[in-house]
Amino acid sequence: MDVIVILLLICGLVFFTGGAVGILRFPDFYTRLHPAGKMDTLGSFLMVLAVALYNIHDFSWAALLTSLKILLIVLFIFILNPTATHAIVDAGFRAGMRPWTKEDRGK
């Protein structure tokens, strides 16, 4: 069980790190939101799954209930994170942000 939890945590960490690097290195607003929205969703899913698994290490019905509540967080992150990203992109597009193209390379 511990092995699975540690593997999940490491996988989550990889995704979070990828997201952070992506936010720093991508060229413009829209491409930066891509790692911010996607990597955080999957990364937090893996992390929270690990926490929920660790919580039912000593099995009891109360611990199982707590784990289910923890997994509920994931459900809401899954719905909300893409929606928030969508709203931010929409606001940026309305505010007149121009997407990055190949001609902008090197600037």
Partner: protein, 274 residues
């Protein structure tokens, strides 16, 4: 004039700094605050009120009088925003309508406003995006936010939370509807009149529970007096009394949040606004 103000500020600041020397040092176990009252509350909160969260017991029972006036302060803040901001004058600009089937935006002069029909919907003058995803997600999510708010209010006995926090979350769920749809939708769910009645009802519940304790022959806000009408022992009655006033606080805070948001974002007109 500015010089006099500066002198007063500097003098008061110096006095405050001078008097800090007399305070007990931080975390001092022999300081008056940790000797008398705090120790009593920590030891006696569970046997006296059967509320495991000492913060809630102190907030709503031991110093319930204080919290009642905190609630009144929030009520007054809501009233203040209403009195200062509310305009009872209709916006006489042109208005915008959207043809639902095609999504075309129509600009309509003020004297040619069409009758209400299902083919056209009124949209805000300043901010007119039509975003299906955000609208529907917020619509689906609002009940869960409200459920969580009720959980926070009711679970204040056992975990961090209580009336103030839960009330803010409840208010935020309605504000979420107002932001994601528009203000008319939110006002259709909970009208301005309802909001202002709820503002007063919350304070009334709190002080009414206090007055009920006087009627039952004990001090104001001494919930042990309620044991005869609740058919429980005195300890359980104090726990239930705390829950009652938390509900009152939650209702007031929710209504004040919604009222302040509506007044601020619509410049007091309460017809449209972000």
């Amino acid at each position: 004039m500015k010089a006099i103000g500066l002198i007063i500020v500097v003098l008061v600041g110096a006095l405050l700094l001078y008097s800090t020397e007399d305070f007990p040092s931080w975390g001092d176990p022999a300081s008056p605050a940790s000797v008398h009252v705090a120790a009593h509350h920590l030891k006696k909160a569970i046997p006296e009120t059967s509320v495991p969260n000492v913060v809630t017991a102190v907030l709503a029972d031991y110093r319930g009088y204080d919290t009642m006036f905190e609630t009144s302060v929030i009520f007054c803040a809501g009233l203040g925003c209403f009195v200062l901001l509310r305009l009872f004058k209709k916006r006489d600009d042109d208005s915008y309508y959207r043809h639902v089937a095609t999504g075309i935006t129509l600009h309509i002069k003020k004297d040619k406003i069409p009758d209400a029909s299902s083919e056209f919907e009124r949209i805000d003058t300043l901010w007119t995006p039509y975003d299906l995803i955000v609208k529907n997600v917020c619509r689906i999510l609002a009940p869960f936010v409200q459920l969580f708010a009720l959980y926070v209010i009711a679970h204040g006995h056992h975990s961090p939370g209580g009336g103030f926090q839960g009330g803010v979350i409840l208010g935020a769920s309605v504000i979420l509807i107002a932001i994601s749809h528009d203000m008319r939708t939110a006002l259709g769910r909970i009208s301005e009149k309802t909001v202002h009645i709820l503002m007063a009802v919350g304070v009334l519940i709190y002080s009414g529970i206090g007055a009920l304790c006087i009627l039952m022959g004990r001090n104001f806000l001494d919930y042990a007096a309620l044991s005869r009408i609740l058919f429980t022992d005195k300890i359980e009655a104090r726990s239930l009394g705390i829950f009652g006033v938390e509900v009152g606080v939650g209702i007031t805070v929710m209504a004040v949040m919604i009222s302040i948001y509506n007044n601020l974002s619509s410049e007091g007109r309460q017809d449209e606004g972000l």
